[in-house]
């Protein structure tokens, strides 16, 4: 079975670092980005199974990432995390077919479980 590829986009460097440490333990290939632009570029080169993205970012925000990924790469699942526990944003994300929506602070175990479910969907 090929290694699953996970992408983490968050302008907080620690989020990517910690997610990478934990998720690599699970055997995933993890790439982290501090903003959406290089991440979207990378998606053009490589297929990722799950994209974990922050909602509020400078430049292209999480909602845009969700829209772009779901329209261009329907097989890729998107998990959104946000420091703004905002119901409107959650509803919009659901409409755009988000796989999961996490308010910060994120429970890594829950994130892992969510990723596992997403991968089952992909498979």
């Amino acid at each position: 079975m090929a290694q699953h590829r996970i992408m983490v986009i968050d302008d907080e460097k620690i989020v990517g670092d910690m997610a990478k440490l934990s998720l690599e333990q699970e055997g995933y290939a993890v790439e982290t980005f501090l903003s959406a632009e290089p991440a979207l570029k990378r998606l053009e080169e490589e297929r990722f199974d799950v994209v974990v993205t922050d909602y509020k970012m400078k430049g292209i925000d999480g909602m845009e990432v969700l829209r772009a990924v779901r329209s261009r790469y329907p097989a890729t699942q998107v998990i959104m995390i946000t420091a703004f526990a905002n119901l409107d944003a959650a509803i919009e994300a659901l409409r755009r077919d988000v796989h999961d929506f996490f308010p910060k602070p994120v429970k890594i175990k829950e994130l892992k479980a969510s990723i596992k479910r997403a991968l089952e969907k992909v498979a």
């Binding site: 703004f84 910060k104 602070p105 890594i108 175990k109």
Partner: protein
Amino acid sequence: MKIEKKLILSNIINGTFIILIGLFAFQNLNLVLTKLRFVEIADDLNASFLAMRLSEKNYFLYQDRKALGEIRDKVAATTQTLEAEKGDIIPAIGETDLRKLESLLKAYAKTIEPVRGTVPPDAAQEERIRGAGRSLQEYADSITRLERKRVNDIIQDAKRILIFSFWAILASALLIGHFISQKIVRSLRQIEKMTRSISEGNFAQVRDIRSRDELGSVIDAVNHMSEELAHREEQILQSKKLASLGILTAGVAHEITNPLNNISMIAQTYEELYGQLGEEQRISLMQKVDAETERIRKIVKNLLDFSKPKDAQPKEADLNAVIQKTLTLVQNMIDVQNIETIIRLDQGLPRVFIDEHQVQQVLVNLITNAVQAMTAGGRLFIATRRGKDGSSVEVTVKDTGQGIQPGFLPHIFDPFFSTKGEGGTGLGLSVSYGIIRNHRGDIRVESKPGVGTTFTVELPLPANS
């Protein structure tokens, strides 16, 4: 002394003066009347004396015995008149002159007495009679002349005194009027100056007026009002700050979420991967926790500093640093509204002498307004630079929001003027204005509906920079 009392006193003084002059004029008039009455009597007497002398002459010329009878009749009539008019004569010429006149008349009568007209009068007798007659007539004449002159003198004196009093009263009335109005005008000017300075937000007291009159009371009242206003302004300042704090707290709570999440994720990873982590990695993670804690501490400290009520404490400060600090408080509010911020701080900006917290409050107010004007997102531009003439620094807060209607522009710094409906207290800009004016600075606005609004805060540089 009260102005009212002063006016009454000056009126009493002038009034008393006028009454005294009136009394004096009345007395003079009475005296003149008495003298005139005497002059009238004297004219009659003189006429009688003249008639006597005429009869006397007739007798000596023609030895007319009838003339003797006429003289005696006249002497008797004149004596009677003197006696009868005594009441009018004595006040005019005094008793001595009356006695003298009477005695001269008696002496004349006496010289006439022995003459019977049977024998022609001898020369010596004739001389005695003529002499007595002459002295009588001359004395009466001289008294009359003197009295006429006196009447004239009295009238002249009275005229002079009246003219003098007229000028004196006029001068005193003008002087007192001038003095009191001067004082009133001076005090009113001071009050005017004071109220003007109060309306500019400067609540200094007027202490150089010591008057205990009505104006003193007005100044006391204005001083009291000024004190109250200063007190109220402090309260408004604080309540406005608390209102801003409400807005900020929501944002800051979110701002804290990110470092909290970081700490939480580090802790979870540390716990889960403890065995796999190397010594160095563990230390590095804990350092990260520490750094993130510091991040939270800074945000909370800024918020606490902002909320604390403080008296104005101007200190030398770096305006750019104050702006950066303010941005940590408002960053979240800006982010939520999908607003792009462009910050251009002049790195060579001279240091200013300001109350950091108050200026921070102004910046929070201006940025909050800008963000609220850009409900559909936009660009927030914050810049610092040196003022045009080099004696000040300027902060510009510019938005691409809905702008302010030209009709509202003159009122936006008025207290309780708000275009935000229920959401606005109408105090933000008026408080900001007050703060900047207290710093001897200026705050200006330019706005175009649909294009955006630019606020420029100008703060003076300390004199030595």
